[in-house]
């Protein structure tokens, strides 16, 4: 779930971690009541500051995705119907924005991008 966390990215590590957890919840990889790794475990595994993990979990709690039970751990909450789907579409939008920004930076035109997208998706363009 946390593969490819990038400490060199300008996106703070706690934001990256929270994003990964949100995505795992959105795709169902983490179901309701599933436990997140303990702060200590995740910090040691990713070799990052425990405070960073704590901040990510607190943000997730504030957004209503998880519940922090003191002494017991952090668990995925029961989500309102549709929330997972909404998260997934938000993630899709983020992916497209990232692609567009990259295209702009490297000088790829929108038409070229559209063609590549169609080809990759196997769509017929006649």
């Amino acid at each position: 779930m946390f593969h490819g966390i990038d400490p060199r990215s300008p996106i703070p590590l706690y934001v990256q971690i929270a994003e990964r957890v949100r995505l795992a919840i959105a795709t169902g990889a983490l179901g309701s009541a599933a436990p997140l790794p303990s702060v200590r475990q995740l910090a040691a595994e990713l070799r990052i500051n425990p405070a960073t993990v704590i901040q990510a979990y607190r943000d997730l709690e504030a957004q209503g995705f998880v519940e922090i039970r003191h002494g017991a751990g952090t668990f995925v909450r029961e989500l309102a119907p549709g929330r997972r789907a909404r998260e997934r579409s938000q993630h899709a939008v983020a992916l497209v924005r990232k692609m567009l920004a990259e295209a702009r930076r490297s000088g790829v035109s929108l038409a070229e991008l559209q063609r590549a997208l169609d080809t990759e998706l196997g769509a017929k363009t006649t």
Partner: protein, 301 residues
């Protein structure tokens, strides 16, 4: 939150050629504080001053709320220190060194020491002098952690070690922080390693502090800009100009700025210029640009 290490207007001189001037540092309690700087910038000297091993000419040093070097005996009982060079007797075995160290600290944690011997795969019967560089470093970390201090001061703890040993050491440190909430002050020039773990960073060069900031602030605030049409003289910019040079072809300029915020592009519009691109820098790029700017005679902060 209070500061575990507080340094104010510190001045120290060693011989004619090296001095630490006007040094102010604040290491917040519970932070992992990265102390960066090229070789010879004064990192080790500062650490020795913090530990009361050197006496400043003037200024104030407070560690764990107590003045240094006056209270060094009380302070050092609560500080785990890993010096740059191993200082242990090479004719003693690993086991003997652990027992020897344990005798000095009433707070000694035998269980943790044993657990770390296993985890680091150290052989209790080996002579210290026969250990590999990585094993020596692991033993030094073990001794500092088992002492159960409130502050760990680590001087280049992973310098010159292979990646496997570096990971083992870093993981052990982070586990310790999770459990104890201790403060870690770690000097290094392995920027990427610090980038992962630190929440505060200070940069030294030539005996002076160039910057001290929360990691995220430093990273978010340091950018490379591609600027067109900027006048030669700019007055009171809201950001800090670290470097400015013409780009290769195209007529634009590359700027590296500090304390940057996205809304500041409007400053350039105000002086008839435009920002074509804002490029993120990682900690290493930011560090190198800060040093370059400082050495060119920039104002520092």
């Amino acid at each position: 939150m209070s500061d575990t290490i507080q340094i104010e207007r510190l001045h120290y001189r060693a011989g004619k050629n090296f001095e630490i001037k006007e040094l102010d540092l604040h290491v917040p309690s519970g932070s992992i504080y990265g102390f960066l700087g090229p070789n010879g910038s004064g990192k080790t000297t500062t650490i020795r001053l913090v530990l009361g091993l050197l006496r400043p000419l003037s200024g104030r040093i407070t560690v764990l709320g107590l003045p240094m070097p006056e209270q060094h005996a009380r302070v050092l009982g609560r500080v785990g220190y890993v010096p740059e060079q191993p200082h242990l007797d090479s004719t003693l075995t690993v086991r003997e060194l652990i027992d020897f160290q344990a005798a000095f600290y009433p707070t000694w944690d035998r269980v943790r020491a044993e657990e770390l011997v296993q985890r680091f795969e150290l052989d209790g019967g080996s002579l210290f002098g026969r250990l590999s560089k990585g094993q020596k470093a692991k033993l030094m970390i073990l001794l500092a952690l088992a002492q159960r201090g409130d502050l760990l001061v680590l001087d280049e703890p992973t310098d010159g070690l292979d990646p496997v040993v570096r990971r083992d050491i870093l993981s052990a440190l982070l586990t310790y922080v999770s459990e104890r909430g201790a403060t870690i002050f770690i000097s290094s020039h392995l920027v990427h390693e610090l980038e992962r773990v630190c929440d505060w960073v200070a940069v030294m060069d030539n005996g002076r502090l160039i910057t001290e900031a929360p990691m995220e602030k430093l990273k978010q605030g340091t950018k490379r800009l591609v600027v067109f049409g900027a006048p030669a003289e700019i007055v009171n910019p809201p950001f800090r100009v670290l470097t400015r040079e013409s780009a290769n072809g195209g007529g634009g300029e590359n700027w590296v700025v500090g304390n940057w915020e996205p809304a500041m592009t409007s400053y350039f519009e105000g002086v008839g210029a435009s920002v074509r691109d804002v490029i993120d820098l990682d900690l290493e790029d930011g560090f190198v640009e800060l040093l370059r700017s400082f050495r060119k005679g920039g104002t520092g902060r």
